[in-house]
C-alpha cells in the first residue's frame, strides 16, 4: 500500500529524515518508535503534506502513485489520514459541520453523491459510540475547549467517519491517561481490517500493549535502525534508545 524509499526531508534547511525505507502492506499495522527529535513527527507530516517540510530526496508511493506531488487535501481524498499530535482549535466551526464538509469533499472526489443530513448523522452517531464520545461534543466548535484526551478522541472519531485506507497516528497516546488510551486503542482496533493500513507513531511502548503492531521500527536520527516484531518494542523498553544511536546524537537527545 505504501512504499517509502530513501526519503530525505528537511525543515528550515536542517535535515531531519536521512533516508527512510518503509513498506506497509494492506491490513498491516506498523509502529515507529524513537526518541524525541528522531524525526517521527516529521515522517508523519511529510506523508500528510504539511507546508514547511522539504523533501530533498527519495519518494513515497501510495497505491502505486507518487504521494508527494499531491496537495494535502488530495492525499486526504485518496484515503490518507493523519491523526494529529496537537489538533488545532477552530473557533465557531461546528464539529459536525466540519465533519460533513470533509466527508462530502471526499465523496465528491470519489464520484459519490453527497450524504444527506440524516444519513450523515446516522453514520456519525454510530462512530461516536466507538470512541465513547458524547453527542454534545459533535455540536461544539472543532476542538475548542476540549481537553487533551477529548481532542485525541475527536481525531479518532474523524478517522472512523472518514474511513481512510492509510492512517498515520502521530503520538496519539501522548498526554492520555490509561482510560483514554484504552478508548483510543479500541477505536483504532475496531477500524483494523484487511484493506486498511496503519502507521502508529509513539514514544512509549505502552500504546502497543493495546494496539498490537505487526512490525515495529526504531527510528533514530532520521533513519530506521532496526525493525522487528512486537517483541522489539519490549526490548526497547528495557534497553532504551541509547543502544541504537549510531552517531551518538540520538542518545544525547534522548537524555536531554
Amino acid at each position: 500500500m505504501i512504499e517509502i524509499s530513501n526519503l530525505h526531508a528537511s525543515v528550515d534547511d536542517r535535515e531531519i529524515l536521512r533516508g527512510i525505507d518503509l513498506r506497509i502492506g494492506a491490513g498491516e499495522v506498523h509502529a515507529v518508535m524513537g526518541p524525541n527529535g528522531s524525526g517521527k513527527s516529521t515522517l508523519a507530516n511529510v506523508i500528510a503534506g504539511r507546508p514547511g517540510y522539504t523533501v530533498t530526496a527519495g519518494q513515497v508511493l501510495y497505491r502505486g502513485r507518487d504521494l508527494l506531488e499531491l496537495e494535502p487535501e488530495e492525499r486526504a481524498r485518496e484515503g490518507v489520514f493523519l491523526a494529529f499530535q496537537y489538533p488545532v482549535e477552530i473557533p465557531g466551526v461546528n464539529n459536525l459541520y466540519f465533519l460533513k464538509a470533509a466527508v462530502n469533499a471526499i465523496r465528491k472526489h470519489r464520484g459519490e453523491a453527497e450524504l444527506d443530513a440524516l444519513d450523515f448523522m446516522e453514520r456519525v452517531q454510530a462512530r461516536a459510540g466507538l470512541v465513547k464520545m458524547d453527542e454534545a461534543f459533535l455540536k461544539r466548535p472543532v476542538n475548542e475547549g476540549f481537553s487533551g484526551g477529548e481532542k485525541k478522541r475527536n481525531e479518532i472519531l474523524q478517522m472512523a467517519v472518514l474511513e481512510p485506507t492509510f492512517a498515520v497516528l502521530d503520538e496519539t497516546d501522548s498526554g492520555l491517561d490509561i482510560d483514554a488510551l484504552k478508548v483510543v486503542a479500541d477505536g483504532v482496533n475496531a477500524l483494523r481490517n484487511p484493506e486498511r493500513a496503519f502507521l502508529v507513531i509513539t514514544h512509549y511502548q505502552r500504546l502497543l500493549d493495546y494496539i498490537v503492531p505487526d512490525v515495529v521500527h526504531v527510528l533514530v536520527d532520521g533513519r530506521i535502525v532496526e525493525s522487528g516484531g512486537p517483541e522489539l518494542a519490549l526490548a526497547l523498553e528495557e534497553r532504551g534508545y541509547g543502544a541504537f544511536g549510531r552517531h551518538g546524537g540520538a542518545s544525547r537527545r534522548a537524555g536531554a
Binding site: 489520514f81 466540519f98 470533509a102
Partner: protein
Amino acid sequence: MSSETLERLADSQYEHGFVTDVEQDTVPPGLDEDVIRLISAKKGEPDWLLEWRLEAFRGWQQMPVPAWAHVHYPPIDFQAISYYSAPKQGSDGPKSLDEIDPEIKKTYDRLGIPLAEQAFLAGVAVDAVFDSVSVATSYKGKLAEQGIIFCSFSEAVREHPELVRQYLGSVVPTRDNYYAALNSAVFSDGSFVYIPKGVRCPMELSTYFRINAKNTGQFERTLIVADEGAYVSYLEGCTAPMRDENQLHAAVVELVALDRATIKYSTVQNWYPGDKDGRGGIYNFVTKRGLCKGVKSKISWTQVETGSAITWKYPSCILRGDDSVGEFYSVALTRDRMQADTGTKMIHIGKRTRSTIVSKGISAGHGQNAYRGLVKIMPTAEGARNYSQCDSLLMGAACGAHTFPYVEVQNPTAQVEHEATTSKVSDDQIFYLQSRGIAAEDAVSLIVNGFCKEVFKELPMEFAVEAQKLLEIKLEGSVG
C-alpha cells in the same frame, strides 16, 4: 512557504463592476447654494424642504472635516463632485415597472435584484436607487392595502409631506456631523417607509443602491417610521462599477420606533473597494441612527460590510423609551488596501434599556479594520444593561485590527460587559482542514464563516446565504 500561504493575496474579481450605458441627466460638478436650489427645483420640492437643505449647507460650510477616524485618504475636493445624476427619462419618471429603462432593468437583473413582480414570490419588495434617483418600487399597491407606505423619498415628500416633515432630521439633525450635513444639503433621493399602528409588514422591504455615473456622489436618505406595535424588516444592498477615481457615498438613515415597535435593518454593503493597490473605490461615509422613542421598542442593526475603499459608519441606537432594546451585529471585511472604521453607539436614556453589540472584523492583505463603539449610560437609565463583544480575525502579517471601545456610565445600577478577542487564521488551521480533504480556499471560508456565525444568523435567510457567498468570493485568493 507557510507564511506565504497566508500572505499571497490574489485577485478576486469584483463581480458588479460593469457600467450601464444610459443617458444621464447630470448636474455639473461643484457645490454652492445654487446647486442646492437646482436639485430642490428638479424635484419640485416645497419651500420648507429647500430651507432645510440650505440651513444644512450653511452649517456644513462651517464644519471641519472630521479627522478622528482610523482611516487615511487624501482630502476630498467637494467641488469636483457632481451632486445630482439621474438616468434621463420622460418628464416625470416611470409610472410603473414596465416603463423603466430596459438598460437599467438589465443592470438590476445582472445584480440579481428581483425588480419584477415575481419578486413577490421571494417576499421582498424592492426600491431601487440608481445613482441619485429611485427608479422603481415594487409591490407598492400590495403594501398600501395595509396602510404601509414604501416609496421613494421624493414621492414621500410629495404624497406624505406631513410625515416627512415630522420625522426628517428628528434622529440625525442637519448639523449632526460633517457628512450628515452634506447629505442633508444635497440628498437627491432614497426610500421612505411608514408602518402604521399594529401592522406587521408582511414582507421584507428592500432598497438596492447602485452608483453608476462617473464623478458623482450618492447621497440618499432613508427614513423608516414604525408606529406603535408595528414591525418591519428592511434590507439594503449596494454595488458600484469599477472606476479608477474614488466616489463618495454619504448617506443618512434615520429610524424611528414608537411604543412596542420593532425595526430590523440589515445591510450587505459591497461597494467597489478599489483595486489591489488602493486605486479607486467608494468612500462610504454614512450616518445611520435609530431612535427607540417608545417604550419596549426595539431597533436591530445587522451589517455585513465587504466593500468600499473606506468605510466610516456607526449605526447607532438612542434608547429613549423605557425597556427599549438596541442591537448591533456587524461583520466588516477589509482586504487589499481597504480601510474600515465602523462600530456603533448605544445611548441608554430610558429605564431598563438593553443593548447588545457583536462586532466581527476580518482583515486580510493590507486591510485595516477598526471597531469604534460607544456605550453611554445616562443618569436616567436605571437598570440599563449592555453586552459588547468585539472579535478580530487577522489573515496574513500586513493587515491590522484596532478596537476603540468607549464606555461612559453615569448610573450606578447599570451593568456593562465588554469582551474582545483577536485571533489569526493560522496555517495550522488550514492544514488541519486540508488534511481532512477540504481545499484550502474552502478551509478559509469555513473558518471565516465560523467566525461570523453569530452575525449571519441575524440576517434574513436569503440574505445570510448571499452574505456568506459574498465573503467567499471576497476571500478568494487570500490564501494559497
